[in-house]
Amino acid sequence: MPSFGELSLYIALILCVYTLLSGSFALWAISTGRQLAISAEHLRETSRRAGLASFLCVSCAAFALTYASFTNDYSVDYILHHTNRALPWYYKFSALWSGQEGSLLLWAWLLAAYGFVLRLRHKVDITLSAYASTILSAVQVFFLLLLVVAAPPFSLVPGGIAPKDGFGLNPLLQYPEMVIHPPMLYLGYVGFSVPFAFALGALMMRYPGEKWIHITRRWTMVTWLFLTCGICLGMHWAYAVLGWGGYWGWDPVENASFLPWLTGTAFLHSVMMQEKRGMMKGWNVWLIFSTFMLSILGTLLTRSGIVSSVHAFAQSSIGTWFTTFLVITALVCLFTFFYQRDHLKAENRLESLVSRESSFLFNNLILLLACFTVLWGTLFPVLSEFVQGSKVTMGPPFFNRVAVPVGLALIFLTGIGPLLPWRSTSLRAIRRNFILPCIAIVGTALILIACGVRPWKDDDATATIYALVCFSLSAGVITSITSEFLRGAGVVRTQTGKNLFTSMFTLVRRNTRRYGGYFIHFGVIVMFIGLSGSAFNQSKELEMGLGDSIQLNGYKLICQSYTQDSNPNYDTDYALLDVYHGNKKITQLAPERRFYNASQQTDTVVAIHSTLARDIYVVFEGRNPETDRPIIKVYLNPLVNWIWIGVGVIIFGTFIALVPPFKPTNRRPENPQPETRDSQPISKLPTPVLATAASSGAPHA
């Protein structure tokens, strides 16, 4: 089976090289009108089919590695180092991406899968798809070369004699979410290759109009969703497994996943400027180029050992490969951009200082500043070593101080952006639409201060004031989103006579993109509220004997027992703790500490009791060697559940935005007219216009 896998990779590489070369020749011949020995269209078709076949070959390689994992084939070095016989089947499956070579194979397979779908759907625009397919094949060649030359997953063990059992999977990866977190993250990273390929292809062929954006919109949104889910699953894994009470530690690997997310989010916003107003064309092209390159840079940072990370399982010497690929990509992008820059001239200009366009510009600024700040903090140790000769640590104190204000600015813009109309607005309209959110902001701040959130009385005043500002701004944003929904639903109710809930459903169906976007904004705000809860975290650590108790902010944990257990995969120490709030028992928690036999490593299994208000988070830190009693650490983490709820809302909103809107018949004109000043948020339309439009059955949003 290892030989089969290796052979599949070689054939996939040959097919991708063919796709690249034949596609390039065919497109060159078509664009210049040159005659080749065979028809250029025919050559282009063979290129596409070779690309399709490469997916089958990479799939065979991925299957071969998974098969080797399931059949305990320890003659394969990778399987020997990442599995063992006692490993449950689902972790044997996840062994595919638990190490360097396997994760690169997963990357190559996902890339081939995206390419497969792109090439199958080539009829959406045959020439543009051919450009995108050729560019994508260049990326595939790079990853397949890596797998064949630098990081072969099917290498046999030295000496050729297979040991009886493997060294086991890293205990930190033996957690259910780890089965889906890496594929989700990679689906996000790799997925940005598709809009990148379309953008570069559209620029190369001087594609007329904005159709490439319409084609790639769903690709970009789905990719963005995968990356969002991947990052959030990683946060949840860090929270539930690492046992330090937090979910985001600003580790370089975490930062690496966050960078393309930020630029991808900026692209999803600014691309609307291009669709609706024909502006920011060059900017958008660079945003998607940057997003793709940041995905590669993130991989370079975390696998090359350039920066120190706790995710050291994947470090190796393939940094040179990624650096070379990154430089080539940047040069190709730069050359194409400068060569075709006259094609990217804006069709419209900014008409008003205060408009949706301005808010998008500031939105992009904030997102890119956040990206720059995170990148700066991640790379500063390298710069410091170069300048001062010594590395420094850029830990949470740095990032929390510089990134949180940027996050607050983003919340602020999330609130005001959707309330501003395209092109221009009036002072009266601004006053009318911002009065409610402003009241909500001030009211929430006053209520919170009255309830005891008083930064001037706290030890950590900075964290508390950030939380206070975040809660207040969030209230403003939620008010503005809610009022947009209610006003829109009110119009539909007047028009149809249905109840408010049905009207709201109809409203969302008529403009899934706008209202899906509002749901996503709402989810982000809910997440921010959850993140702000960390300003009020509390913790306590105690060595506990039978019957001992630990008290924290009204909660009391009593140790009922502590014991040991074992199974073929690991031995475990755990304690049983009854949790009381006042005199009422609310739950029993059993934090564990496991010792994995194959890898000879320990791992914590945190016990969490979650409510909407707070999490009781209990860690079995180990046993005191002198008394043999467990050391228990208890955290009270407020509002953590809001983060996961927010993620759920974001996923829901993205699905809504992906659904095609329901349009009454005869609504789409053959030649759309440019936007008018009346095309604005519901809240901007004066009542007579709403009434007129409602009576004519027109959707406003």
């Binding site: 009470g245 300048v387 104190p397 004031i465 349009k663 004519s696 027109a698």
Partner: protein, 158 residues
Amino acid sequence: MLKRSLQIFFVCFAAFTMMAADNSTTRLDHIGHKLVCQCGCGQILMECNHVGCPVSGPMIDTLRTQLAAGQSEGAILDSFIAKYGPIVLAAPIRGGFDNVAWIVPYASFLLGTLGVAFLIRFWHRRYNRLNPASALPIPPATPNPMRDRIRRDTDYLD
């Protein structure tokens, strides 16, 4: 009035953000959160959760001893830097080139904001120069069948 209010707001904000814990009971926690455990876990010293960690325990003990001896925060941090190197600090706070780490994000935020504001103003002026009619005040939207029709026809673009 608005200017004065903004000044007061910024002074209050700066005062809040610069407030530091001065209580002796919290000094251990405060300084301990400025240091990183050197066992390789990469965690903040006071948050290192490895029982029997050969590094964090002795580091916290040293910190306690130095606090009990009445040493200043600067002296304590200097002693840790002398022993473990600057990597022991959770954030670069030694001054000199370390300041660059803090200045650059804020400077880029300021420059970026000014740059975008300038760009918007520049585009707006150019638009007004090229379209003098558009510089006139925008009339309030009124019910107009033609405009309603245009809006309906372009709604799907939203």
